[in-house]
Symmetry: C2
Subunit: 216 residues, 2 copies
DNA sequence: ACATTTGCTGAACCATGGTTCAGTTATTGG
DNA sequence: CCAATAACTGAACCATGGTTCAGCAAATGT
């Protein structure tokens, strides 16, 4: 009985799986979630529409994989940035600025992944990304507050508010065009955010200037 | 030549026009924009699907009318609240708190009207609502800054950020449930917002406590 | 009551986009 | 090269939901 799925084939299959997700990501990056359609994505990946269904049970699963990938990368970048900071308040600033800088670099994709509703099933996945981001902020706010670096507060509420502030001003449909002024925009928003959470203006300015952003 | 469209008929037509929009509004309020579908809306309004097309050229126009109505009400409420305030900073606080309180009262509808994408054509209308809200905040921020009540800043950016903060923390999908704590939630967020814009903590607390919200 | 015009009905129609599947091609061990 | 199995193709299929329209009902002035 011939055809033993060989190593070579396994590699090609894995590459295709990745290629499909990459194609979906590119589509979302260009045209938002509405552009993530089976036939165009398949064409972009260089395969037929039907073939997509050999890799994903349905569109929902494909988009879920896409969102999970983005969420994974984003959370990792946030944690990495925060982990090298000298203290909890600095870590909070680093997380905020890293998110902001990355969002600005991939406006459309970030908006698609975080804010654009799709269907009921996928909302759960998108929501969990959003929740992870807000939770990350909430935890860092709580840590900083515990060290008396900022005011006591409802950290769930402020984490959520912080996320909304950043999304709307950076990647939302009426976010001002920041081309050429990315650094300044990120700093202004971080300043607003830190002050809002209870950091004195002077101190906040210091943090914003000190924090360096990762290149990628 | 009989049938001269009489006053009586005109009244019924106007009533129906309003009933259709009201039905659409109720649908959006219950199930978000996805629930605003011609057949269900028509049924809710007590008419046949086809009849909707005697009042609106297409679904787009119906939803546009719905959004414009909501936007009109909302902007009027904001301006009314701000107009009775004693000074520009107080007016800003009043606008923020009024928006927050009203949004909390109609969470789903507010989310649907402000944040839920629909189709490309309608996005323009939804965007103009969003832009009007952000602009209202921006103008009040600028007025307060001009009177040296808060720091100089990019008012377009902070107005947008403020709107995002409020939306996300109040009506977004991961806004914490505020049932029974509406007043406290509104106050906490207003505090964060005012501090973020550069009002000292003590002063901001004073404003938040002083500002009274309209009953409706 | 009647002619005339408008308004209403709702099932049929259509466009969009996800999903299926019979037919074809590719890969492997012997 | 051949048998066997998996992978791929793409046009047909289907579900959803907006839109149309032929037939019917209601309103009006004489």
């Amino acid at each position: 009985m011939p055809y033993r799925r060989t190593e070579n084939v396994v590699r090609r299959l894995a590459a295709r799986h990745a290629a499909i997700i990459a194609a979906a990501r590119a589509a979302a990056s260009e045209g938002g979630m509405a552009a993530v359609q089976i036939v165009p994505v398949a064409r972009r990946a260089g395969i037929a529409a039907g073939t997509v269904y050999r890799y994903f049970p349905g569109k929902t699963d494909l988009v879920a994989a896409l969102l999970e990938g983005i969420a994974h990368d984003e959370m990792a970048a946030l944690r990495r940035a925060a982990s090298v900071a000298p203290g909890p308040l600095s870590a909070l600033a680093a997380a905020i600025m890293t998110f902001a800088a990355r969002a600005l670099r991939e406006r459309r994709l970030t908006y698609a992944a975080i804010a654009e509703p799709i269907d009921a099933e996928l909302d759960a996945v998108r929501l969990s990304f959003r929740r992870a981001l807000a939770a990350e902020f909430s935890v860092r706010i709580a840590a900083a507050a515990a060290g008396s670096h900022l005011l006591e507060q409802d950290t769930a509420l402020s984490g959520t508010a912080l996320l909304g502030l950043l999304i709307e001003a950076l990647v939302g449909p009426l976010a001002p065009d920041a081309a050429g002024r990315e650094r300044e925009t990120v700093q202004s928003l971080t300043l607003i955010a830190l002050r809002g959470l209870g950091v004195a203006d002077a101190r906040a300015r210091g943090l914003v200037v000190q924090t360096t952003l990762p290149a990628a």
